[in-house]
Amino acid sequence: MKRLLSCIALIALVPRLSQAGHLYAQGAKKQATLVSKPATVNPADLVGSDVCATCHADVAKKFDSNPHSKLAMEHGGKGVTCESCHGPGRAHVEGGGDVTKIVQLSKLSAKDASATCLGCHAGAHPNFERSPHAKADVGCTSCHSVHSAGTEVALLKVDQPKLCYQCHTEIKPQFSQPFHHRVDEGLVKCTDCHDPHGTFGANNLRSTADQNAICTKCHTETRGPFVFEHAAVKAEGCVGCHTPHGSQNARLLNVPNINQLCNQCHSPVSGSTVHGINAGSADVTPCISCHTMIHGSNVNPAFIR
């Protein structure tokens, strides 16, 4: 009962606590719902995007195609404009373009620059601050460019997978191996399996809604549930047997010989060591000649049907 009351009290406190942030942001100019970075801003310090455009014409002329500003352009300047990200511009203008009196995201640390973006986009990327990218000092502007994007997809600097390859140079060769997921061919994107903004899983991996491995979104026949599950498939995951990016082995297997793959677990050596495996067959006839339904079966516990 105490625990329940504590929970109720905590839940009741949340709106109150949130008011602190809300009050903190009250000084900000009222903008669209998403555009609410909690920072104290004096409306008198804002100059408006038209003033910015007088000097930054090269940037301003792209406003109508920029997802951040085009909506504002279509609605009388209401919405995200220059000062939503760069802060109030009056001091910068009155200083004759003094660059020290305006927020330059390119000069900020990755963390601070990301904080600016997350001021609006935290709802879409709530895990970013705990993500491996954030810990590696990779911020939003490492991949996205608001003013000079290379693609119209999410304002990326360069399209996938080249963007990812720029840092993950060790991954690029894997997609050039004889057997690979067709990422370079454009059929599959890095972001089909990974969310670079962070997930609750390891390696920024996505999962299906029911928390199955992301692989089963396409490879639906392996999703189950099966009456007879191959426990290792569920417990070790697909990568227990497959190398997803690319491999010299057919079917993206971890080893070229299917019997070696199976016997790593199913041989007498591990018979009494590892749970539920027993001695296995330790045979040399290709295992899948009989155990064809190796991802799971509804009919046969030995995965033969």
């Binding site: 140079t169 690029k172 609750f200 809604a209 639906t220 417990a235 019997n259 070696q260 790593q264």
Partner: protein, 860 residues
């Protein structure tokens, strides 16, 4: 002026593309803003289109004057062309790896509508549509996006992937060559039926996957946003599949698959306060599997006297019986005059027409028909409640709760064999199965910026899976011929008799349901402290704890296996920027688990990562990375005397790579990559026997029998079974654009592996560990006229296996401390003693493919 800008832009764009040799489909999927009028993907075409170029020039499209209709700027492009392809070597391997073929193609098409500046429209602000690859390429896509400001956003994509997989066995089929069945009397055959070798992959795929994803967001910027979505995934086509116990023997089957999913999504996002969002999402996935199995057509090598095609089975038998299809496969008492004694008999008679199928005696075992149908339906509704808030200063928190109950049913299982198996003329299985997947998962994360430089975060993940199921499959109901002399035939015309139940390994002999259960629980906590040591350096340390519980109940009994794995680990991350143009970051991860489900489940894990990027000049970038994953499981075996000892599982995956990009000006660019990957895995393994005695190169033990383990079991080993796959990758690309209308690039990529593995089976295919896959290419793009670009592209695909199949390394003994040496070592004794010829047992697989693509890119 606009033309000059446009040309410069597309040159920069092509330069970027060429640096990674990204396929044209990827180029289209990530197109530049339409307003930039980029000449993208002036792809590929056919000879006819090359000749048409001149006609197109005469028509002179006006790319610089966009079409304006109803206050929309409308731009369209089309990439028309085709491929000219020549392939030598293994066509199967070419199709498995490349699968581009000759013919005209619609390589790309785009259509965009953007409003004229300052104009507003009631229904539509922007529309973008594009597609590519249609006309015969293995990968196609179509994409459609449109939106109306604050009202809605729609996006949809269709992708199609045609997969041909035939990693063919070439000279290494499971049945050795030179085996025949006599036609006519065994003592004086009039002909021979070659025991057909299966030269295709027994798991050949000729399938297509069609994936459609659509999403509609209503009121995207409002306090309450609605989202709906629909996705469909269809996988269909024929495949080959081995089949166990199809009648008396095994048989190769053809599987005709059609599996599909329909996924529906409905969601509401509520933003009650600034920087706070609460989402409720309902997702319903429906899965339909309508696969069925029949005999593979290649299996029907003989016929009955009435003309019914029949299969002898045993498509993959290698060692026993020593002779293909022995007389033991026939009911000799019913063969009539065709059987005299064990050495004088007639199984096959000459075909009625030259080139026809031989006629098999009616008393011999065959399969004339097989059908297995197992239509399965699964529905997975999932409720998801998600929240995110950064409304509280310096605190960011988010989490979700998911609940999913997936029900899978197979109401009508049907399997039927017809032919002859001893006295059995037919066997039929029927039944139904039910399985359920209940999943609850909770994720929660909290980040607190405690001070200006110190941040604390914690992340908890919990999931609990229950998966009960049961299969109520009848034992095989058989209809038999009488077991009396002369009647045990496939054409016995009298009433058939009920026989003993037919069983398949693993299934019950009685008509009882088989229950099964699988459960799994994860609890993971990651606690992290981050320190921004300076504006250039950050450090973070994470302590991870994971509890993983797995339970499985198998078969009919109450026996279950329950294991718990507790893992503790630490991760140190560091990022440092020595200068504004030099970045580096790395991490060290060390974890220890007190248990493992499988030998490949690591007890000790170490991972080291390092990335760096240095830009000495704005036009020069040097990137490097090192990634090393090391995993061990040295659990000790104490239960099987002959195989006592440690599992000794070790695997590592070490990568080091370097990438240099130089783009000094718009005329030239260079990109050079090199990577070395060291992939290794090793586990102590026992084998039941060694290489097949019936294949050339078979190993034999001191007793003359196939490799036997000297232990109490007939197992061989334990031996250190391993795979070592050191792989080198290199690529180089150069672009050259002397002026505004001409652009070219050329490059070369190679991925080569020179590895080996332990010899366990003369049939095993090892060639892929001694192989090189290389793809040089050349691109030329010529702007014939503004809005009209002609492009030619040449790609060479070469795959070659440098050595024969069959692993080159053997074990000197059968103990865990065995030394691995080349198999052709003359001193090799004992259970290996391999006599494989230096030429190997199989021909290496290789192919060369020349693909010329010509195209015109037309803007209008």
């Amino acid at each position: 002026m606009l033309q000059r800008q446009t040309v410069r832009r597309w040159k920069v764009y092509f330069k970027r593309l060429a640096m990674t040799k990204i396929d044209w489909l990827a180029r289209l999927l990530h197109k530049l803003p339409a307003g930039n009028a980029v000449r993208r993907n002036a792809g590929r075409g056919g000879v006819a289109l090359l000749l048409m170029t001149g006609i197109a020039v005469a028509q002179s499209p006006a790319a610089d004057a966009p079409v304006v209709q109803n206050h929309y700027v409308i731009r369209q492009t089309a990439d028309l062309g085709g491929h000219i392809v020549g392939v030598s070597g293994s066509g199967s391997m070419y199709d498995t790896l490349v699968n581009l073929h000759s013919g005209p193609r619609v390589l790309g098409q785009t259509y965009t509508m953007t409003p004229v500046a300052g104009s507003k429209h009631p229904l539509l602000d922007n529309l973008s549509a594009m597609s590519g690859g249609f006309g015969g390429d293995p990968n196609n896509f179509a994409k459609l996006d449109f939106s109306k400001g604050k009202l809605y956003e729609f996006n949809g994509i269709f992708r199609r992937d045609r997969q041909y997989f035939d990693y063919d066995l070439l000279g290494n089929p499971s049945i050795p060559s030179g085996l025949n069945i006599p036609i006519g009397p065994s003592t004086a055959p009039t002909g021979l039926l070659a025991w057909q070798q299966q030269r295709q992959s027994p798991v050949m795929f000729n399938t297509v996957r069609r994936m459609t994803d659509t999403g509609l967001t209503l009121l995207p910027l409002s306090k309450v946003t609605f989202r709906v979505g629909y996705s469909q995934n269809i996988f269909q086509g024929p495949t080959l599949s081995p089949g166990r116990s199809i009648g008396k023997y095994d048989s190769l089957l053809a599987e005709y698959q059609r599996n599909s999913t329909d996924d529906f999504l409905g969601a509401i996002d509520w933003k009650p306060w600034q920087l706070t969002r609460i989402t409720f999402e309902e997702q319903v996935d429906h899965y339909k599997a309508d696969s069925y199995f029949t005999l593979a057509p290649s299996e029907l090598t003989v016929q009955e006297a009435d003309g019914t095609p029949a299969s002898l089975g045993n498509w993959d038998i290698a060692s026993t019986p020593a002779t293909p299809y022995p007389i033991a496969s026939c009911n000799t008492g019913s063969m009539g005059s065709a059987y005299t004694n064990s050495t004088t008999y007639t199984i096959l008679s000459a075909p009625q027409t030259p080139g026809g199928r031989p006629i098999i005696n009616a008393a011999c075992d065959v399969i004339t028909s097989y059908l297995r149908s197992q239509p399965t339906r699964t529905i997975y509704p999932t409720e998801l409640l998600r929240f995110q808030s950064s409304s509280i200063r310096n605190i960011q928190t988010n989490g979700d709760v998911r609940y999913s109950v997936g029900n899978s049913t197979m109401p009508h299982y049907y399997e039927n064999f017809q032919g002859l198996d001893g006295a059995i003329r037919s066997a039929t299985f029927t039944g139904s199965t039910v399985a359920q997947r209940r999943m609850v998962s909770i994720d929660y994360g909290l980040t607190w910026q405690a001070t200006k430089t110190i941040g604390l975060s914690d992340q908890v993940n919990f999931s609990n899976l229950h998966q009960p199921g049961n299969a109520n499959i009848t034992p095989g109901i058989t209809q038999n011929a009488p077991t009396t002399a002369g009647n045990e035939t496939i054409n016995y015309a009298g009433a058939l008799l009920s026989g003993a139940n037919y069983t398949v390994s693993g299934n019950p002999t009685g008509a009882v349901p088989l229950y099964a259960y699988f459960g799994q629980k994860f609890l993971t906590n990651n606690a992290t402290v981050s320190w921004e040591a300076s504006s250039r350096a950050t450090l973070s340390l994470t302590y991870r704890y994971q509890a993983h519980t797995i339970i499985q109940t198998s078969g009919t009994g109450p026996a279950s296996n329950l294991i718990g794995i507790d893992e503790n680990g630490g991760i140190l991350n560091a990022a440092y920027r020595p200068t504004s143009n030099w970045k580096m970051n790395g991490s060290v991860e060390i974890a220890y688990a007190d248990n493992a489900l499988t030998p490949i489940g690591a007890r000790q894990t170490k991972r080291y990562r390092f990335h760096t990027t240095y830009k000495p000049r704005p036009w020069a970038t040097v990137s490097g990375s090192y990634n090393d994953l090391e995993r061990h499981n040295n659990t000790n075996n104490t239960g099987t005397p002959s195989a006592d000892g440690p599992l000794g599982h070790v695997d590592h995956n070490r990568n080091v790579s370097l990438d240099v990009v130089l783009a000094p000006n718009e005329h030239y660019s260079f990109d050079v990559n090199y990577a070395y990957m060291d992939v290794y895995t090793s586990t102590n393994i026992c084998y039941f026997s060694g290489a097949s005695a019936t294949l050339a190169g078979a190993a034999s033990g001191s007793t003359g029998k196939p490799n036997l383990c000297p232990s109490v079991l007939t197992d061989w080993g334990p031996v250190k079974d391993f795979m070592d796959a050191p792989t080198q990758y290199a690529s180089i690309n150069a672009t050259y654009s002397p002026n505004k209308v001409f652009w070219s690039s050329m490059g070369y990529r190679i991925s080569a592996v020179s590895g080996n593995q332990f010899f366990a089976d003369a049939q095993q295919v090892n060639g892929s560990l001694q192989s090189a896959y290389q793809t040089p290419y050349v691109n030329i793009a010529w702007t014939v006229h503004p809005g009209l670009i002609w492009q030619a592209e040449y790609n060479y695909y070469g795959y070659g296996e440098g050595g024969p199949s069959g692993a080159p390394l053997c074990s000197t003994s059968t103990g865990a401390s065995a030394v691995v040496v080349p198999c052709n070592t003359t001193t090799l004794a004992g259970p290996t003693g391999l006599t494989e010829p230096s030429s190997g047992l199989t021909a290496p697989r290789n192919f060369h493919g020349n693909v010329v693509t010509l195209a015109i890119h037309y803007e209008f």
